[in-house]
Symmetry: C2
Subunit: 250 residues, 2 copies
Amino acid sequence: MSTTPVNLALTVDRSSPVPLYFQVAQQLEHAIETGRLEPGSRLGNEIELAGRLGLSRPTVRQAIQSLVDKGLLVRRRGVGTQVVHSQVKRPLELSSLYDDLLAAGQRPTTSVLRSATGPASAAVAAALGIAEGAEVVTVERLRSAHGEPIARLLNHLPVGLVRLETADLEATGLYRLMRAAGIILHSARQTVGARAATAAEGALLSESEGAPLLTMERVSFDDHGRAVEYGTHIYRATRYSFEFSLLVRP
Amino acid sequence: MSTTPVNLALTVDRSSPVPLYFQVAQQLEHAIETGRLEPGSRLGNEIELAGRLGLSRPTVRQAIQSLVDKGLLVRRRGVGTQVVHSQVKRPLELSSLYDDLLAAGQRPTTSVLRSATGPASAAVAAALGIAEGAEVVTVERLRSAHGEPIARLLNHLPVGLVRLETADLEATGLYRLMRAAGIILHSARQTVGARAATAAEGALLSESEGAPLLTMERVSFDDHGRAVEYGTHIYRATRYSFEFSLLVRP
DNA sequence: GTCAATCGTTTGTCCTGACATACTTACTTG
DNA sequence: CAAGTAAGTATGTCAGGACAAACGATTGAC
């Protein structure tokens, strides 16, 4: 009944600049992903593990804790640490449509429909937390895959954060450009809903008027807490859906 | 230019069974939520803070770390720890429609349309990771608020996990019943999409045929990694949307 | 005047040691 | 034989200390 003891070959390189706890966490994560550590199997207890690696218990704990936070391990007092067996891979990320499509093996293309600088409307100003009428950059794009339109992306950014060249926008995703400009994304607030397509939206997305669309509104914040982007996007429901895992925080 | 020093009255109760780091974290979180700790303000450095509280630095660090994980604080080496100023409140939770509606001040009501035990279809078995034909409990419910239908909830659970009485299901939410039965939710995988309502669905939800519906599919796992619930739900797009915050993991 | 090096500050990492608490198992008792 | 009890085991919490690394600002050089 009790799970296997598990003997795992772990090593650490003390001359490496990579933190020791991180080295351990990486090796454990790799062992889990390759199946060497089977779901449900128990890790040796922390003290024994620390002794085997020549590390202190806090360091081993830190390594384990990082994997618990990722949802790969579960610890129980008096029992031990076990590998979770589930399909849950990574908790979730601020998904970028561009990267999502790339990962799915599709070849996303983008065409810039509009790119302008002007005063912020009341709604945009409220979302970005700036004064109404302040200058914002507005970009409207059509994202397609295999020649089929997938979504219409409408973004608003405070001026001065990123230089948005049409060529860059058509070559890659907005988030990549923001990261390249030194913006460190920290968090976002999203709303996902649905509504019927207007005639114009239907024409743009090769759908008929009244066709169901998936809508997504998002405000992203950088590590200083400033709103750096506000987007209102619509997706063809027949071509796209949001998929994500999440962990339940105790 | 440098942000304010901030003087905060923190105390700890060593006779309390509540962990010290947790006490500190709670007080800091409260101070942030009430605005006593303003966005952008700096916490005193860890060593000084520890000395002021009569705690060790690791304990203070643990408190701060928990708030960093929640997205309320940002630490920078050589700079200090600052309060993030953003609307982001809580990272995200496995949201329960019932609790969502309660929190929104609505009074949700539920009527059980169907509740039966039978062999799992191929799709249900695949989602739950059990053998096709194995016994599962199927529950179909209509969730309303203010007398208006909001969603049709269709859930499948392996038999033996929870006793689902119609009276209980109409009095509270499924997740609450599962928790009460000792099931510890750990993670979930969700897919959110949209599609047009069928005639039957429209009639049930007081919408017309072809009206846009928000769809959500979810498989939930407990802390052993076992799938404990599979749900396919449809929501009236005019009455409901998903809203959630998320943190970008570095 | 502008750019580069230096220095102090603050968090990041790691160590040793100790006790508390929860869960499991095995034993004892009614 | 069943239920309660006790021992064992593993994680949870906390202390105190030490050095490393990164960031910001000041100082110095060209």
